[in-house]
Amino acid sequence: MADVVDLRGIHKTYDNFVAVDHLSFHIREGSVYGLLGPNGAGKTSCIRMMIGITLPDEGEVRLFGESFHREQLQNVGYLPEERGLYKKMKVLDHLVFLGRLHGLSAHDAQKRSVDWCDRLQLGDWTRKKVEELSKGMQQKVQFIAVLLHEPALVIMDEPFSGLDPANAAILKDVLLELRRAGKTILFSTHRMDQVERLCDSICLINHGRSVLEGDLKKIKAGYGKNTVQMQYEGDPGLEGSSLIESLNSYGNYAEVRLRPGSDAQQLLRTASERARISRFELVEPSLEQIFIETVGKDGQHP
């Protein structure tokens, strides 16, 4: 299948700070791609170069199989992390304005805006000023603005940050629907739980460099079932255990990475002597764990 996004060694420095360091990855058509990394890793800089807000110092951005040119933006929907609306504008006028900027006719923009507003329960608010809407409603308006022109590529930078749970659910449904419709979705986040459920492939970046890239299932399989997820009451005495390579503890839930050659049954026995175990499962490591390990290691040895 064709690549919708193809980054070839893009590089960007601001003064002496390297924001993106010769980064390459590509996104297959119709897939959901997660761009992951801690804050300041270069996710946003990377996305901005993808859509021509800034230009890379080196390297090439290719969209839809062609070298980047601005007309391609008619086919891209972008939800920035720093997003806002004109506060004094009426909701419908605002959506029509943004839709037309993406090449829609006034009529189409109007019609689609009304349809979308009805669908997301904003139908009664289209004539209101943006500032009269609650923050949650403004977020819905922002989603609509991204999708109005039915882009083939949707890019969302930290889409779930600041969303209330209801809107997060709506966004998730919309994303799934887009995926079913064959659209390509890229989103950046540092929240792993969502990526895990939504993404086909990921690129994990740190200090502007790619540290892990590829198909999510393959990546996880590569780690093997060397991870234990356990739920308990009391203190199972995991800390300092010779069986454990790393530990991510939440108080009454923990993810444990076993040392190579350690026996999971041994861990269960020692733990059950000290605490009540309600769940004990041998799994592939969660993305969060992979993230912490990879980024942590990278942080220690830059």
Binding site: Y14, D15, S45, R48, I51, G52, I53, T54, L55, D57, R70, E71, L73, Q74, V76, Y78, L79, P80, E82, R83, G84, L85, Y86, K87, K88, M89, D93, F97, L98, R100, L101, H102, G103, Q142, A145
Partner: protein, 431 residues
């Protein structure tokens, strides 16, 4: 290419419609003429009320002929032939004048008392001593009315002059003829036909400065605010995913500019409607300020370019700062070239053809005022006019590119105002 214009046009449209529809705009547009009208009409109305009353004064003079002559000057019905010359005194006072021919201290004290009691408005003291020393006094309770003092002064002068001329044997009808004032109208000669008058040049140059200044002050700063608002409301990045900073800023400068022009046109039309009766009545004055079509065209061109130029400066300022507080410190420096060109206006007005005038008038920041003045008072070579227009256009475009670069890089770094060194580096970034 057409796509870029389409996007700038959409921004322009949004900026224009949102602003013109806002309550603030409607209120300001309607309130301003109302205030202006009130500030003109109310004093005029007050003067009207007062001018309906008679001022009762007494002339105290031992020379009764002179006293009678002054009395005649003051109470005579306005001679029709002089109406135009005295247009600006349309609300002149009317007088009841009594004559007292015994300038004694006793009379003086009595009159003072009457003035104090309000039975009398004032009295003129023309004793022989006073006449000999050329010091005539007018005593009244209220002496702040300059119009009244001027009327009295001219009446006394005319009376004394008439009397002296009469002594030399000149008939009073001839005296009137002699005293009719002559008006001086300065007319500039251009190739072929009569150009605008000197008064017109001065007025129109002044008008240019005033119009530029007020519009830039209100709408240039609106451009700046609007660029800051897009940054602070975070709508900027949403926009930049479909258009360039240059398209955005161009659309914004033009859109806000169009709002200012709309307001001006509304005010102009309202002003014409209200001043039309008055203007028709004093056709003489209006015909003096005759403005040739070429000059009016130059006015429009230089005003628009100046307006755009300064608005773009404000767009660049808006791109550089993060908050209105920061912007406030920078509003004044941006206006300085405009203020400076007001000071340069007089020398250029007097000597429009010197090398100095040429160089000053092609500096884009001064051109709107100085080149226009040169066009108004003289005919500078066409290439010079073309050069100044071209330089202004180039400067506007340059500022736009500068502003959009700053804008694009600036949004990536919220939080602090860039230093000059940083600005220079930002400009070097390819994007």
């Amino acid at each position: 290419m057409s796509d870029r214009f389409r996007k700038a046009w959409l921004v322009l449209q949004r900026e224009y419609v949102e602003r013109v529809r806002s309550k603030a705009f409607i209120l300001f547009t309607l309130l301003m003429p109302a205030l202006m009208a009130a500030s003109i009409l109310v004093p005029a109305k007050l003067a009207d009320i007062r001018s309906g009353e008679f001022r009762h004064i007494v002339i105290v003079a031992s020379n009764s002929e002179l006293a009678t002559a002054i009395q005649q000057q003051l109470v005579k019905p306005e001679p029709l032939a002089h109406t135009n010359a005295h247009d600006n005194q349309a609300s002149a006072n009317r007088y009841i004048v009594d004559i007292n021919d015994s300038p004694t201290e006793q009379v003086r004290n009595q009159l003072r008392r009457q003035v104090n009691e309000g039975k009398l408005d004032g009295f003129l003291w023309l004793s022989d001593d006073a006449l000999a020393s050329h010091k005539i006094t007018y005593s009244a309770k209220d002496v702040a009315d300059f119009g009244e003092a001027a009327e009295l002064r001219s009446a006394i002068r005319a009376a004394i002059l008439k009397q002296r001329l009469a002594i030399k044997g000149i008939a009073s009808s001839e005296v009137d003829e002699l005293l009719t004032p002559t008006e001086l109208d300065t007319v500039r000669i251009t190739e072929g036909n009569d150009g605008g008058s000197g008064l017109a040049v001065f007025l129109i140059s002044f008008f240019m400065v005033l119009l530029l200044y007020t519009n830039v002050l209100v709408y240039g700063i609106a451009v700046m605010r609007s660029t800051i608002e897009e940054k602070s409301s975070r709508v900027i990045e949403v926009l930049l995913s479909s258009l360039t900073a240059k398209e955005l800023l161009a659309g914004k400068v033009l859109g806000v500019g169009a709002v200012g022009l709309t307001q001006m046109v509304i005010w102009l039309v309202l002003g014409l409607i209200f001043s039309l009766p008055g203007a028709l009545a004093s056709r003489n004055f209006v015909s003096q300020v005759h403005i040739p079509a070429a000059e009016a065209g130059a006015f429009a061109v230089f005003f628009l370019l100046g307006y755009l130029l300064y608005s773009t400066i404000y767009a660049a300022l808006g791109a550089m700062v993060n908050s209105e507080q920061e912007a406030q410190q920078m509003q004044w420096p941006a206006m300085l070239p405009l203020i400076f060109s007001i000071f340069l206006a007089t020398p250029v007005l007097q000597h429009p053809n010197t090398t100095m005038a040429f160089w000053l008038s092609i500096i884009p920041f001064f051109s709107p005022v100085l080149m226009f003045i040169r066009i108004a008072v003289d005919q500078p070579p066409l290439w010079q006019v073309a050069l100044s227009v071209a330089l202004m256009l180039v400067t506007i475009y340059g500022l736009l590119v500068f502003a959009s670069r700053i804008y694009r890089v600036g949004i990536l770094m919220y939080g602090k105002r860039p230093t000059l060194a940083e600005l220079r580096r930002w400009l070097r970034y390819s994007g």
